[in-house]
């Protein structure tokens, strides 16, 4: 039911006021009158001559009024000042004139306003549809005002005033004439010098917030305003949390924020870990986007984003763009560490390191301990690491088996060569995956199936016991957390086994191969069901 063009109807169409006859106008006036008066009116005689069905029309209007499920006609003040954005500009709002709408956020609408006496430009934020805002929302809105009102910083949007109009809470804020960083990024990339300067200013502002015991918790390009001189202003404390007050919100562990810039501890509901380092993570995500043009984890769905946020390392900025200096990459990745304690301890440290980089001084390199580096590598290139681990075990066993015999056994060289080839291919495919070629994982799966089958074909003696390797391949393919790779691996394993049978099959009861094939299929099915269940559970948890 849309406001589509006028539908065909017996009555003549006359939407232009010029074509309305005096009689129609009179009827309309009368109907409007009874409608506004709640359905009671006399029937004027001259009109009744023109329209014999007036009593029925009156009954009809009355019936509609009685039928309306809406309690009362909204009082004039509400409907004219309800701030639903449907009214014309300029219009008055307390001592201000609203000149236009600047934007809409999760809870509020931001208007461009002007103080009638002082003529100063302001931004006025009102909570949207206040009569339906829950107490929680109103509370959060008031808290934003309280949090922001005591702040004085060159890079933080200043709150001038707060109050209530017709029951609608509002905030009067400094008007920044420009665009958001998100809008700026949509126009094209920012050069490195500007990016560093922006981040130094934003990081110092965030550090100031932290010193005032306020966590921003929703830092993202859309919440950073740029004025005409590209001076950044941090805004939107909608999620801001005071360190000291406000314990109940942490208790609920609600997931608030924007996934692309959200820290792992926020995304995975560990409120006890949320602290200044949480904002440092978001700053790192913004720096990452400034440098590379894309946020650290750019997945199709919020669900995949959350999974990657926990399990994967972002692709190093220099893998996306070789022009990015090593120092900036290190600064950026340090902010994006999974563990809060591994990041910069404060936004000030981040700002200082950026300053040092800008002055050409060495940055505060964290001692590069090999254990952390290894853990990051394992997370970043998990598929490759698991393959290499498997190859190492196979090579070791093969080598040990060879020690017992004089000279090399016949399968030694083919299998070792195969493992080498497999390793090289795996490294190549891992690199391609990191460059963003997502479909490489399917090629990888098929390659695994073929190479494993070849290795088994080269092996000596009865090979039936090696078939168990296919189950491992199927189960391991679940680590992508997607159903299709599992399906593909199952089919590849099944086909490979069929090929293997005539080559290396030993005499056995005729139905045994059917059992083995069936088991492979069932394993695939079970694993797929588990993957689907995991995704559903996560989806439920994220409400998305």
């Amino acid at each position: 039911m849309t406001a589509a063009p006028f539908s065909p109807d017996p009555e003549p169409e006359s939407s232009a006021s010029g074509s309305v006859s005096p009689e129609e106008q009179a009827l309309l006036n009368w109907l409007l009158e009874i409608h506004e008066q709640g359905g009671t009116a006399s029937i004027p005689e001259e009109l009744a001559c023109q329209y014999p069905r007036l009593p029925q029309l009156l009954a009809c209007v009355q019936a509609l009024q009685a039928f309306s499920p809406v309690e009362t006609i909204p009082p004039a003040g509400m409907s004219d000042n309800s701030l639903t954005g449907s009214e014309a500009f300029p219009r008055s709002f307390g001592p201000y004139d609203l000149l236009g709408e600047l934007g809409r956020g999760g809870m509020g609408v931001v208007y461009h306003g002007q103080h009638r006496v002082l003529q100063s430009r302001v931004a006025i934020k009102v909570i949207r549809t206040s009569e339906f805002a829950s107490p929680e929302e109103v509370r959060r809105f008031r808290q934003e005002g309280r949090a922001a009102s005591r702040l004085r910083h060159a890079n933080i949007v200043q709150v001038h005033d707060a109050g209530e109009m017709d029951g609608t809470p509002f905030l009067v804020m400094q008007f920044v004439d420009g665009e958001t960083l998100a809008q700026r990024l949509r126009r094209g990339p920012v050069d490195q010098e500007t990016a560093v300067a922006l981040m130094i200013a934003v990081a110092s502002a965030v550090d100031y917030l932290h010193q005032e015991s306020i966590l921003h918790r929703d830092l993202k390009p859309a919440n950073i305003l740029l004025d005409a001189q590209s001076v950044p202003f941090v805004s939107d404390f909608g999620l801001a949390k005071l360190f000291d007050v406000d314990q109940e919100r942490t208790a609920s562990g609600m997931l608030l924020g924007t996934p692309a810039y959200m820290s792992p501890e926020q995304a995975w509901g560990k409120p006890e870990q949320v602290g200044p380092a949480t904002d440092v993570y978001s700053l790192g995500a913004i720096l990452y986007e400034l440098l590379t043009g894309v946020p650290p984890f750019q997945e199709k769905t919020p669900l995949d984003q959350l999974l990657r946020l926990r399990d994967a390392e972002p692709r190093p900025p220099r893998a996306l763009d070789r022009q990015i200096p090593v120092e900036l990459e290190q600064i950026c990745l340090r902010c994006l560490e999974k563990q809060p304690q591994d990041r910069y301890h404060s936004a000030a440290e981040l700002a200082e390191d950026l300053q040092r980089y800008r002055r050409g001084e060495p940055i505060t390199l964290r001692p590069r301990d090999w254990w952390n580096a290894l853990r990051r590598w394992v997370r970043r290139e998990a598929p490759l690491v698991s393959h290499l681990a498997g190859f190492a075990v196979m090579a070791l066993i093969e080598q040990l088996a060879d020690l017992t015999s004089a000279g090399h056994r016949p399968p030694y060289l083919p299998v070792m060569g195969l493992l080498l080839l497999w390793t090289v291919l795996s490294v190549i495919m891992q690199k391609l995956l990191l460059r963003g070629f997502d479909s490489v994982k399917l090629v990888w799966i098929v390659t695994d199936g073929i190479l494993f089958t070849t290795a088994v074909a080269c092996a000596e003696g009865p090979v039936e016991s090696l078939i168990v390797g296919y189950s491992l391949l199927i189960v391991a393919s679940a680590m992508w957390y997607e159903e299709f790779p599992v399906l593909l691996m199952t089919l590849v394993s099944f086909l490979a086994y069929l090929v293997l049978l005539p080559i290396r099959g030993a005499p056995q009861p005729v139905h045994y191969p059917l059992i083995v094939g069936g088991i492979l299929m069932v394993i695939g099915g079970v694993v797929m069901a588990l993957v689907r269940r995991i995704r559903q559970l996560l989806k439920f948890q994220t409400g998305g």
Partner: protein
């Protein structure tokens, strides 16, 4: 009148005595009624155009499933029962929609304990209950309500929208004009024609 005065009561009695066909006919008869009220309620709460078809479906489904739990006997009780289910669903719908909007689909659902406390303080809870029956509604014959809803549902989309916004959701004409992207004058004329058309449908000798 499209519904003879006794039909609703008669169908209700038959359905309650276990006549499945009568029950289906009863629900068919009330579908438009639930649809018109659902749209009016949900749009007026959300202050935006909302597709209420899921809400209607859900409400009818729940009423159908829980038909044995309906203990009343009069048509008034029956309609009140439908409206109560609808009111509950609308409240959930609005709340869900609001959260979904606010958190761009990324909010963990409140826990059961929080939900319970929320329903006490939530102004929507009272709103749903209070809009169940206004005094003026009691004056209106229940069959007439059904007939009115059926007639509204037969109107063209534009007529339905203008009656919904102005007469049922009671928005000022300025807002209706804005929402329908017409001039205020054109909107008022549209509204008048919608009323005329509605009246002719209601009082037609025999409309389906």
């Amino acid at each position: 009148m499209s519904v003879p005065p006794s039909e609703l009561q008669r169908l209700l009695e038959q359905a309650r005595s276990g006549d499945a066909a009568a029950r289906d006919r009863l629900f068919e008869l009330c579908r438009n009624y639930v649809g018109v009220i659902a749209r009016a309620q949900v749009e007026s709460w959300m202050r935006a155009k909302v597709d209420a078809s899921d809400l209607v479906q859900q409400t009818l489904l729940e009423a159908h499933r829980g038909f044995d739990n309906f203990t009343g006997s009069t048509d008034a009780e029956w309609l009140a029962w439908l409206k109560q289910i609808l009111g509950n669903n609308t409240r959930d719908f609005v709340r869900h929609y609001r959260t979904a909007k606010r958190q761009t689909g990324l909010e963990v659902q409140p826990r059961a304990s929080e939900r319970a406390s929320e329903s006490v303080s939530d102004p929507l809870a009272g709103l749903a209950a209070s809009s169940l029956s206004t005094p003026s509604q009691l004056l209106m014959a229940h069959e007439q309500e059904l007939a009115l809803a059926n007639a509204i549902s037969q109107l063209s989309d534009d007529y339905q929208t203008v009656l919904q916004l102005r007469s049922l959701q009671r928005l000022p004409f300025e807002d209706v004009a804005e929402r329908m992207q017409r001039s205020r004058q054109a909107t008022q004329m549209l509204w008048m024609r919608a009323i005329q058309k509605l009246e002719s449908l209601l009082n037609a000798p025999d409309s389906t």
